[in-house]
């Protein structure tokens, strides 16, 4: 149970390197079309070769190269959305839990509302009104995240508030802001980190879904969701186009979740219920 999950960590590391060093690793341009090399199958099928390990798509673009560049979008969006959405949730959770009263009441109502109403709908609306792009995507996915962060962190803060060190800080004359920043915040960081890891998978799937629905980063930038969307029309004659990026998503999300489970057990066993 508490063994270090080396395989997931290895997969995450490989994907992270893919994203960081995409221009060095990708054998071809992910965007330039080569119409003479259309729909070459992966190397293990008849007609495939090691020149295009995972084959090519309908525009002759190398699937492996697009996969490598696609990891950039997934991980960049995850990084930004978790910083924004997680950060907002963390701040509101601490404020709600520490200040309490009407502020807490209002914020928790908002959290309830956010849970009932699927954020993906707002994400689609944003894509239509603001236009597709990184900013839209980050705002949209942050909307999906903040509420669960705020709820869990608030719960933690409610418990922390009872501790003597908070009372002592008050007696010493610390302002509320100071107590929240220097006394409460460091104590919820473990929980925050666990929440971040457990939500990486959520973000990656959300990004892929939005891309798939035509509301992600606009083409021709390769993203895994877009690759599946483009490939599904060719499922009968070129199945690798849709199946390979999906495998990449599943593999990455699986690894991140297994790593997150382990981290949770290490840092914050009380969160097991999540």
């Amino acid at each position: 149970m508490h063994r270090v999950p080396w395989i997931p960590i290895g997969i995450i590391a490989i994907m992270a390197c893919m994203a960081l060093f995409a221009p060095l690793l990708a054998p071809y341009s992910p965007i330039d079309q080569a119409l003479r090399d259309r729909l070459i199958p992966p190397f293990w099928l008849e007609g495939g070769s090691m020149a295009h390990v995972f084959g090519t798509d309908a525009f002759g673009r190398d699937v492996l190269s697009r996969l490598i560049y696609g990891s950039r979008v997934s991980l960049l969006v995850a990084l930004l959305a978790l910083t924004v959405g997680g950060g907002v949730g963390l701040t509101l959770g601490i404020v709600a839990g520490y200040i309490g009263g009407a502020v807490d009441n209002l914020l928790m109502r908002l959290v309830d509302a956010a849970f009932t109403f699927p954020a993906i709908l707002f994400a689609l609306l944003l894509a239509v009104t603001m236009g597709q792009g990184l900013l839209t995507l980050v705002i949209a996915i942050s909307l999906l995240l903040w509420a669960s962060f705020a709820r869990v962190i608030r719960g933690e803060v409610l418990m922390l508030r009872q501790h003597d060190f908070v009372a002592l800080a008050k007696v010493r004359g610390c302002s509320s802001l100071r107590i929240m920043v220097t006394h409460i915040l460091p104590n919820v960081l473990n929980t925050f980190m666990v929440l971040v890891t457990l939500n990486i998978g959520v973000v990656i799937i959300a990004e892929a879904s939005l891309s798939f629905l035509g509301a992600g980063i606009p083409p021709p930038t390769p993203t895994w969701g877009l690759m599946i969307s483009e490939g599904r029309g060719r499922i009968a004659d070129a199945w690798w186009l849709a199946l390979i990026p999906g495998l990449a998503i599943t593999l990455l999300v699986l690894s991140v979740n297994l790593f997150g489970d382990w981290l949770r057990d290490r840092l914050d066993p009380q969160l097991r219920q999540l």
Partner: protein
């Protein structure tokens, strides 16, 4: 009881108003919404006429009042692409989605609940681990991709089932599996953890002391109580299904409100999307309200909490 219902109803209305306000102001974010509503190739005269017709030459608060007023009359604008009132389009597609959802819920219950119970009974051993793996995989696999894989295996390779559109019962199989998969892993995890809680409680011990058979204890005494927390999360599941339907119907060309949402996005049909979001919010809120009231009716603890 009456107070509770009124309270919940008001809460729902406030929430609906908020959704409408967000939709309205997002539409104004990028300038004049007329630019989002007019089809391509419209003349400046068309634009001016439309601005006047929609009352968009007044100040923002006035526009919002007109918008809300129209909405209360059941007018949420015209779909650009279909040139029909958006509300009518939505309701003509709604039955197709409602035909899919019960089967998906049924499948998720039929698979998720027994899996959860079996996992709880075998806590820690290989069966629990196997069930856990299914759960983890279910969460890690994007459902739209699962749909594509199902099409590949069962339609393209095996040729057993149709790959899309509505029709005979065979047409339901793959979409129902895809949509159900949104819930299965969640059901399983919830049932497992709440079964573990219930199995340690006093009344279960009593049932055993009374000499009841293990089957009765587990499936009747434990499971019934373990399902309560699952029902409380009903609201989240409804949200999941609405989201799931967008993806599922897109993959399988199923002519319901999910597919309609996708079409509104790719054709940039802003008035239609705006109407869809408000109507879906209404749908979700009324289902939640109905379930909550039913719940409070059944369980007095909720009424007085």
């Amino acid at each position: 009881m009456q107070r509770y219902v009124v309270h919940r109803l008001l809460q729902g209305l406030v929430l609906l108003f908020l959704v409408a306000a967000v939709v309205f102001f997002l539409g104004r974010l990028t300038g004049n919404p007329v630019d989002l509503m007019l089809p391509e190739g419209s003349t400046p005269e068309d634009r001016a006429t439309m601005i006047r017709a929609l009352g968009l030459d007044g100040p923002l608060y006035q526009q919002f009042l007109i918008f809300i007023g129209n909405a209360l009359h059941g007018d949420l604008g015209m779909s650009i692409r279909m040139r029909e009132p958006a509300v009518d389009v939505f309701f003509s597609r709604l039955p197709n989605t409602l035909a899919l959802i019960p089967w998906a819920i049924l499948l998720a219950m039929a698979v998720g609940i027994p899996l959860g119970v079996v996992a709880a009974l075998n806590r820690g051993n290989i069966v629990d681990r196997a069930a856990g793996t299914i759960g983890v995989l279910g969460i890690a696999t994007p459902s739209f991709w699962l749909g594509v894989v199902l099409i590949f295996v069962f339609s393209v390779e095996l040729g057993w089932l149709p790959s899309g559109r509505m029709g005979s019962p065979a047409h339901y199989v793959l979409p129902v599996i895809t949509l159900g998969s949104f819930l299965i892993a969640g059901f399983m995890r919830l049932v497992r953890s709440s079964m573990l809680d219930v199995m340690g409680s006093e009344f279960v011990k009593l049932a055993r002391i009374k000499g009841l058979g293990e089957g009765v204890v587990i499936w009747k005494h434990c499971l019934r109580n373990a399902l309560i927390p699952v029902l409380t999360l009903w609201g989240v599941f409804v949200g999941n299904l609405i989201t799931g339907a967008i993806v599922t119907e897109t993959v399988f060309a199923w002519p319901g409100i999910g597919r309609l949402t996708y079409e509104a996005v790719i054709f940039r049909d802003f008035p239609l999307l705006q109407a869809i979001i408000i109507l879906k919010a209404m749908l979700i809120l009324s289902i939640n309200l109905a379930v909550d009231i039913l719940y409070a009716y059944v369980d007095p603890r909720i009424r007085y909490a």
